[in-house]
């Protein structure tokens, strides 16, 4: 999205193009799909309003100012507006690019910048460092400190986000990446070989979920290769506006995975899948277009992949449960994968599927949004929980760790009985060991 000449009041590097904003015909079809507009009723906090502001910056009528910064980060980047837009405007992406402008034009105080660089540039791209950094958190749970902290209510004294972050933390197990064998062999008649893209949040916070993903893939007849050198997908950097680090990581992952002899690259994290599918755009000026196309073709979300291949149901066990499904934004809006998870759920013998209202409405997690805007996030979450409640289903299924954290926390706070399961956990229940 960068041009040679700076566009209006945008800086040269990582700016929207004029076409990106000109394409909006202001029909307003995005308005009823936007969670932040529903919350505030404020035009500038709607996709149409945000694109109009970006256009004003592009036309030199508005400085890239605090309001632009606020909107760039208040946007959930849920992409519901992209799905709704008749003329193909990508308001979420425009705001994502504007986040990169924030760091160029309105830099944070030095200590914040240093901390941000430490986390984004040093820690996140280094899987071993990330795993070590989780050790204190695991000890915190194992040694009973968590119990002490929660019962002492000491966190109520700090900012709300710390309390929420602590509350969201699931029970931690050892990270999965070092544990998985290089190749997990297929069971039964072999149908192919896939590489597993294991997201950071999955390996660190949900290792047992991704273990189920491998189990399901093996049972469905696929060898699973897990390259240990793989790095973060780069999504956190995109959402925080550090596009350069994304490009570095992306280039590394691209070469790593394309060198393997595989039929597909599978991920069980919707956020990673969406980012990986965007490599084609992010690396357009850095890498061979043919290789980018090839990489894009191979990236598959787990439910997309299993549906394409056709799921083998004959050996599946009965799961007598009613199930509802929350669509992760980065699956349905960013990747257009909507039917497939429902097909998989309904393929499991015994499962009764119950559609919820507004299944594709954001849950309010949205990367760090749930911690930055705790009140707004809570209101969006409440709307989701009410829709879950109305189904009366016994299990809530989703397919993205961000949603998973937020929903599990919300259900617990609201004292609702449903467990949250990743789709491969549900399939895992039906899959014999």
């Amino acid at each position: 999205m960068s041009d040679q000449q700076p566009l209006g009041n945008f800086t040269e590097l990582d700016a929207p193009t004029y076409e990106d904003v000109l394409q909006c015909m202001r029909c307003g079809f995005c308005l009823p799909t936007c969670p932040t507009f529903a919350l505030t009723g404020r035009e500038r906090s709607s996709p149409r309003g945000r694109v109009a502001l970006a256009r004003a910056v592009a036309e030199g009528k508005l400085d890239f100012n605090q309001a632009m910064k606020d909107e760039a980060f208040f946007c959930l980047d849920c992409r519901a507006c992209t799905t709704a837009c008749p003329s193909g405007v990508k308001a979420g992406e425009v705001m994502e690019v504007c986040r990169a402008q924030v760091h160029q034009q309105l830099p944070a105080p030095k200590w914040q910048g240093t901390l941000r660089n430490l986390v984004l540039k040093r820690m996140v791209p280094n899987p071993a460092l990330m795993e070590t950094s989780m050790l204190p958190a695991r000890l915190y749970q194992k040694l009973g400190i968590q119990w002490l902290v929660r019962n002492s209510k000491i966190l109520k004294l700090g900012p709300t986000w710390i309390d929420k972050a602590e509350g969201m933390l699931p029970e931690l197990h050892r990270p999965l990446r070092p544990q998985l064998p290089d190749i997990s062999p297929a069971k039964g008649e072999k149908r192919g070989t896939v590489a597993f893209f294991l997201g950071c949040v999955m390996t660190l916070l949900y290792p047992e979920v991704s273990r189920q993903t491998v189990k399901v893939l093996n049972h469905q007849g696929f060898d699973v290769i897990t390259p240990k050198e793989q790095k973060c997908c780069g999504a956190p950097h995109l959402t925080e506006g550090d596009r350069e680090t994304t490009r570095e990581i992306a280039a590394f992952n691209l070469d790593l995975f394309l060198d393997l002899d595989i039929d597909a690259i599978v991920t069980d994290c919707a956020g990673c899948g969406a980012a990986l599918k965007e490599y084609e755009e992010i690396l357009a000026e850095r890498k061979d277009l043919e290789r980018l196309r090839l990489f894009h073709e191979k990236i598959k979300d787990i439910s997309e992949f299993l549906c394409e291949q056709g799921i083998r149901t004959e050996a599946l066990k009965q799961v007598d449960k009613s199930v509802t499904y929350h669509e992760p934004c980065h699956l349905c809006h960013a990747q257009g994968i909507s039917k497939q998870p429902r097909e998989l759920i309904q393929a499991i013998p015994g499962v009764e599927f119950r559609e919820m209202k507004e299944a594709s409405w954001c849950c309010g997690s949205a990367a760090t949004f749930s911690l930055k805007f705790t009140d707004a996030s809570q209101e969006i979450l409440d709307r989701k929980l009410e829709n879950v409640r109305q189904t009366g289903a016994e299990i809530l299924v989703t397919g993205n760790p961000g949603c998973h954290l937020q929903l599990a926390w919300g259900l617990q706070q609201a004292q609702m009985p449903q467990p949250v399961l990743h789709i491969t956990e549900l399939l895992g229940l039906a899959t014999p060991d």
Binding site: G28, L31, R42, E43, A52, L53, S87, G88
Partner: protein
Amino acid sequence: MIAQSAMQQLEQALGKEKLVTAKEDLLVLGYDSTPGLHATPDLVVYPTSTDDVVKVVEVARDHNLPLTPRGSATGLSGGSIPINGGIVICLNKMNRILEIDEENLTATCEPGVVTLDLFNAVAEKGLFYPPDPGSQKISTLAGNVMEDAGGLRGLKYGVTRDYVMALACVLADGSLIATGGKSVKDVAGYAFKDLLIGSEGTLGIITEITVKLIPPPQTKQTFLAYFDNIRTAGEAVSKIIAAKIIPSTMEIMDKATINCVEDYVGIGLPRQMAALLLIEVDGHPAVVAEEAEALKEILEQVGAAEVHQAKDAQDAMKLAEARRTALSALARVSPTTLLEDATVPRSKLADTFTLIEQLTEKYQLTVGTFGHAGDGNLHPTVLCDERNEDEMKRAHAFYDELYEQVLAWGGTVSGEHGIGIAKKGYLAKQIGPGGVAVMRRVKSAFDPQGIMNPGKIFVSEQE
């Protein structure tokens, strides 16, 4: 600029939280869906009651400030754009459905109720509110009334005007007017209600609307007919009407539109065909069956290349979806989408298509035409780039020439989008200086100061 005293008065009357003054907010509250039009208001207010609206009007009156009402700003002629600055009054937060009266079959709403929300609320009670403008998911009822919005069901069920039973408005002097009621008949004096409908906010500000509801049709049948020649499609429309069949929907798409739609959704539409008609008949099952048979016969006689009947509701929905994506699909092709609203007597439909083809050729433009064929209401859409000055000039010349002929055929320059800012010149041609003069006198009877949405519909004497 607004005087400090006016601002203070408003703050006192409404409270600070209902006023918007930040530059970034004002910047995004001065557009609608009309290409190329934008203005910045000096102040925006969000009233939450009739009382609030009265107070805003009083301040505007006392300080002689232009006052422009706005709903969701999905209009297509610039009606809600504050071209003279002043105050924009956003009615979105007055969005309660006050009553659904099942004895009288009416619904009473605040102005900011979203059209589809009303449709869904009455559907839950087994009732039907037919007007379905393209923007129904977000358009507001008062906006629909002020623009007299149409939609896909216009042919059989009529447009917004046909459903409005009563209105409550605040006039420019701050007084309230209630006109119409739940009585089916009402000939008491001048029909102010009918004057206010379609007045584009130039006569008053709506604070309450009562609409008529009807029982929904029991069943429907959907057809898709393809044509080798767009004239034949036009003839088919006239023949169907002449056979005294009134479908609930009769929509057309030309070749350019078919191809754009196919590029976008890929549902197997025939790219080589010159046009397609989407036809829906609804009502009592026996009548629907009879009309469906007659319809097929006519389409065959006229020489449709292919006729497909939807097998079931799902199949029908797929076909309707194809039509609903028409504008979407066209809009993706170019940065700027000029959507027009020419409407002719249905017998002139075939000639209009020929004319559009000739003018497209003459002005070297990319044009996709679709629309409500059954109403003679077409949306010839020029796909262009507003940065290309020459292309924009040719696009306007295209419309000028088209409208000239449309008027010669006894058509109208706007079927359902309104005049607003965009078509003042065309309206003057349609109704002449005498017509404009009467409109001005009506306007000044309601609004002698000229503060209500000035600069819309006709050129004011000052301009």
